[in-house]
Symmetry: C2
């Protein structure tokens, strides 16, 4: 990113008000504005009737959403953009609006707005989300599954190919989407999801909906304490390493290495910044989420993962780009 | 704004997390990170020592600020951008960091995050900031003055020229900066600031600091109730009309018209969107702030102001661009 070279107090004003953009989009999703427009209600009056709101409020919100690039406007009528039609209308099979419940929910906002206190302390000053069976992970699993399907569709084909028997463990499975995608791509695979018991209820339900429940198994408990067993062909660790410091990650990687078959692979999916740690934007920026929401979480570069994996006994670490998805995949061989 | 034509779930993710950018910048201002860097502390360790924070927290925050364009990074050292040096270091006479106390403060965030409820109701669901002598306006006046100086420096020369006696009333004077700028540009002008009594304390203090207190007078009370008197050459109404609906604005414009000398002028400074109501971004987007923070406030186009002013007896309404400032000026003759 090239910082502006021109003095511009308005840019600082705008940045301090960037939270309006999150609030407006979350509000519009809560009011199902995009769905109502998709159903043919396009004027403030028509949308207001559908969502039991005031015409004035709808007009102001829809103007804001147009300014922010989520709607189009012709005369007094609003329309959907490619992205809002596909992802924010409940009529679309690709609807992901539920992510706002987690990404812009109370728990996350409360943590982020205490950034100064978290910087002083060096870690989260709010409740520890990593505490056993924290209720936040059931919210997470319910809210994020629709979006993670896109991430999993980009990542999983790199580690699963063809119709061959394989035994896969999905660590911190959450909504179960990563493992379910394995089962959908490989009819001979068996997947075991590990996570807290209440979270695995969401995963089992998603496996049921996807028609793969007969090959989806569960391993409830803490990833650091529960016995993984041995003989896995592939162990997935998606979006979990960022919650811990490097020493703790090495410890878990060692446990994973000793649970894999010889030649078996680990697959890490995560926000992985470039070596400069300030790009690409979403991967680099995610470190602040970890600072404010966890005791010792962070984002790690590929070089850091390569070192941690090497220390745990892995070799042949490879980085796989998943752009335009904001995450990356790392594989390594036990 | 051209909405993206490519499906991009990451863009929705990023928008729902835009509040991180506001939180990070406010946190950095609170920790005086920019000032410490200006003082020569450039590594996480050096900055952490200066601000009594953790090195890890400082590194993560400064990486985020670099990603967001507020810092530069070379190796492990951070530097200031043109904007952060000028506006966010307390060593700069142009420091405006205090605006974060209002723009990203509890009162504003609480209102904005209830956008769905405000859309349903058609107005704010939080405390009425327009209540007599609301404490929020003293916060506003203290926080915003440094930035408004830039806006006033762009606007006031359009309505005040030379060293000629003139009697100026500043309605909803707040920090007093608009009127004080008149006094600085015209050594023969006399200014009277009207606002709630506690707010005028801030204005008087600012007039004192600017060395113009002998020509700065006050008129405490409600703009709709207090007697303006007659014979004013110029009446300023900066950032006040957006708090009210059109009928209420016409009522105040009538009162202003009857208080001006014949040929005297009103000067409105405000967020004034284009006729499409969705551009430019900050002016258009400000309507949402008014929806969520006031009972009936809004932004109005120049055509709407021209009609309201005409109804109140003004003529020759003119729109003056103040770009790159996000506000515009309207003048009209009584």
């Amino acid at each position: 990113m090239t910082p502006s070279m021109q003095p511009d107090p308005g840019a600082i004003f705008a940045e301090l008000r960037a939270f309006e953009r999150s609030a407006a989009l979350k509000g519009a999703i809560d009011l199902e504005v995009f769905t109502h427009i998709d159903d043919g209600a396009t004027t403030p009056q028509e949308i207001a009737t559908k969502t039991s709101a005031s015409e004035r409020g709808v007009r102001i919100l829809c103007d804001f959403l147009t300014m922010a690039g989520h709607l189009t406007k012709f005369g007094e009528s609003y329309g959907l953009t490619t992205n809002s039609q596909l992802f924010l209308s409940k009529r679309s099979p690709a609807y992901i609006g539920s992510i706002s419940d987690f990404l812009a929910g109370d728990h996350q906002r409360e943590a982020l707005w205490q950034v100064a206190a978290a910087v002083r302390k060096g870690g989260s000053v709010t409740d520890d989300a990593l505490a056993p069976d924290s209720p936040i992970w059931a919210v997470f699993a319910g809210a994020m599954a629709p979006m993670v399907r896109f991430f999993a569709a980009a990542a999983i084909p790199h580690v699963v190919a063809g119709d061959v028997p394989m035994k896969v463990l999905d660590i911190a499975a959450g909504h179960g989407v990563w493992g379910i995608t394995v089962l959908q791509l490989n009819p001979s695979a068996e997947v075991t999801g590990q996570d807290w018991p209440t979270v695995l209820e969401v995963a089992k339900e998603n496996a049921q909906k996807a028609g793969v429940a007969d090959r989806y198994h569960i391993l409830p408990g803490n990833a650091f304490e529960v016995d993984f067993g041995i003989g896995w062909d592939l162990i997935l660790e998606p979006n979990f390493a960022h919650h811990m410091d490097q020493a703790t990650n090495v410890k878990l990687f060692r446990k994973i290495a000793s649970s894999l078959k010889s030649g078996g692979r680990i697959a890490l999916i995560d926000f992985i910044p470039n070596d400069d740690r300030v790009s690409p934007p979403m991967a680099a920026g995610f470190a602040l989420t970890m600072l404010t929401a966890t005791p010792k979480g962070d984002v790690y570069t590929f070089a850091e993962y390569e070192r941690m994996l090497g220390e745990a006994g892995f070799h042949d670490a490879k980085l796989v780009e998943l752009a335009p998805m904001p995450q990356r995949l790392i594989t390594a061989v036990a």
